[in-house]
């Protein structure tokens, strides 16, 4: 075991839930990090401290608590800017999560900029939150939704993109930087340069990327970028939408209410400055503050170290899983093109049954369609089992998983 691995094991003591036992006194092995991650004391304490010492509504009042709360809230905006390299903090909008971020774009950008027979391009391996909003929008507008296909290694077929771009009707290309089912890392650079050449905007769903590797939005050069706090040690209820100013300035508000207005009159209203124009009502203030603590925690470890740790775990798991008879792994074996997510099927055993049996051993893995039914159709399966890693996972936990899969084999007489 390498030394970086050892230092990662120290991390576990920061996560109180990892001391839990589940079912019949089994140690918890949490391998569903693509769904949501556990929270370190540092994040839990930041939320607690906010409520115990600084709680107030933000932006509007002059008293001491409101001043403190506003400062804590706005500090997170700076931390986000720092994390994904954004120069202008006013481009960062706080939302509930990736889902709300993408819906905000569909409503506040899409409804004004999409016309009949225009095309929005997504991919076959998107999460439902990067498909359904576009189905709703294109249906409303009489526009079309098209899909970049995926090859058998789980990589996007960029010829499809060329084909759609050639029509001259594409208004937006949207794709996830890392697939939440296959772990595939998209070739964002190539996609974006093609789109830029065609004058087409791009949206990146960074939900599975930002938690796990260094992401530089400025360098990527996309126009919209979305991710969720709860998938990177942060609280539920907070996510980020970043939009390039030149695009943001062409957008009408999404939700109306407090904080997003400049002047309200009975029959007309003017909007607040960016980004507040897009943050209506009382936001998840404590969650924003907790998310700031999560970013601090991750940056202290270092995003490159996190990626390295996950490469080690994923390589180890791929190797071990491959040796289980009858187990089929989806996606590429090229670790440089894959995040810490592995989907598989085990002989004819349904993923639900696999998940339930390993759960009996204290091991939390996901089974189902992973909110990616279009991809399930493409893979021609109803569901897969999925394990996904984060900073606190260890090789020992992978060994436990392999053991419990042997139990599945025994029960199902494989």
């Amino acid at each position: 075991m390498q030394s970086s691995q050892t230092s990662f094991e120290n991390i576990r003591k920061d996560f109180p839930i990892l001391k839990r036992t589940v079912r019949e006194n089994k140690d918890l092995v949490y391998l569903d990090n693509a769904s949501t991650t556990q929270k370190p004391n540092q994040v839990i304490d930041a939320i607690t401290d906010f409520y115990r010492n600084h709680n107030a509504n933000i932006h509007r009042a002059v008293y001491a608590l409101a001043e403190e709360a506003t400062e804590l809230y706005e500090q997170t905006r700076d931390k986000v800017a720092d994390l994904i390299n954004i120069k202008n903090r006013k481009e960062i909008i706080f939302v509930r999560g990736t889902t709300e971020a993408i819906n905000l774009v569909a409503y506040a950008w899409g409804r004004d900029h999409l016309k009949e027979s225009d095309i929005i391009v997504t991919t076959e391996y998107e999460h439902h939150s990067n498909i359904v909003p576009w189905q709703l929008l294109t249906k409303e507008k009489g526009a079309k939704l098209e899909y970049i296909g995926m090859d058998d290694d789980g990589e996007l077929i960029l010829d499809d993109l060329d084909k759609y771009l050639a029509t001259g009707k594409v208004k937006l290309v949207t794709f996830s930087l890392v697939s939440n089912v296959l772990g595939t890392i998209s070739d964002a650079e190539k996609i974006i340069s093609k789109c830029k050449a065609a004058g087409v905007l791009t949206l990146i769903d960074g939900a599975q990327a930002v938690p796990h590797m260094r992401v530089d939005v400025e360098k990527l050069g996309c126009d919209f970028f979305a991710f969720s706090g709860h998938k990177m040690l942060g609280p539920t209820g907070i996510g980020i939408l970043w939009v390039r100013t030149s695009v943001l300035e062409t957008m009408n508000p999404f939700q109306g209410g407090g904080d997003m207005i400049r002047e309200v009159h009975k029959y007309e209203t003017t909007w607040n400055d960016l980004p507040y124009k897009f943050e209506a009502g009382t936001p998840s203030i404590a969650d924003v503050v907790g998310f700031g603590a999560a970013i601090d925690y991750l940056l202290k470890i270092g995003m490159d170290n996190i990626r390295q740790h996950e490469i080690e775990l994923t390589s180890y798991a791929l190797e071990k899983l491959s040796s289980v008879k009858g187990l089929h792994i989806y996606g590429t074996r090229d670790i440089s093109k894959r995040g810490g997510v592995i989907s598989f099927n085990f002989a004819d055993v349904h993923p639900h049954d696999v998940a339930q049996i390993v759960d009996g051993e204290g091991i939390a893995i996901r089974s189902g369609h992973h909110c990616a039914q279009v991809l399930m159709e493409r893979l021609n399966v109803a569901a897969t089992s999925r394990v996904s890693f984060y900073i606190y996972n260890t090789k020992e936990e992978i060994d436990k998983l392999i053991n419990s899969l042997n139990k599945v084999a025994r029960i199902f007489k494989l």
Partner: protein, 146 residues
């Protein structure tokens, strides 16, 4: 009940060799539904004769529990009076397989076929029933299944 205990011989057998699996080409009613959370999906076809379910078949994709419960359900239903079928309860299915204490998420797997069955029946009776109150009762019955 421990997780592994759920997977007794009978469940595994039914899941590998489901009973009444398939389609009925000249069905009187057919219905499809799926479990939004996991993607399990079931179709049920039925034929009626003399107020009885003269034939029933199911097909679809699902876990061992879903498949076993669908098999048991169709076995119970086949040949029964329509009114008897309407009275089949969750527990009639679950107890047959010793699944009374299944956790909430899996209950939905176990009862998907029962939901499809009742919906199919509702859709059939809706077309043949005179008494609209009866339809409402049935509709509510179906809605309250989960």
């Amino acid at each position: 009940m421990s997780n592994a205990d759920i997977y007794h011989e009978m469940i595994i057998d039914y899941s590998r060799n489901p009973i009444n699996y398939g389609k009925i080409e000249d069905h009187d009613v057919t219905f499809h539904d799926s479990n939004p959370l996991c993607g399990d999906s079931i179709d049920i076809d039925m034929k009626f004769n003399d107020n009885k379910v003269s034939d029933i078949k199911f097909h679809g994709k699902g876990c061992a529990i879903c498949m076993a419960c669908s098999s048991v359900l169709t076995e119970i239903v086949k040949g029964k009076e329509i009114d008897e079928v309407r009275n089949i309860s969750k527990n009639d299915i679950l107890s047959e397989l010793g699944l009374e204490h299944l956790q909430a998420v899996r209950i939905k797997c176990a009862l998907l076929s029962l939901k499809v069955l009742k919906s199919a029946l509702y859709s059939y009776l809706g077309k043949h029933l005179k008494d609209s109150q009866d339809v409402d009762t049935l509709k509510e019955e179906a809605a309250n299944l989960y």
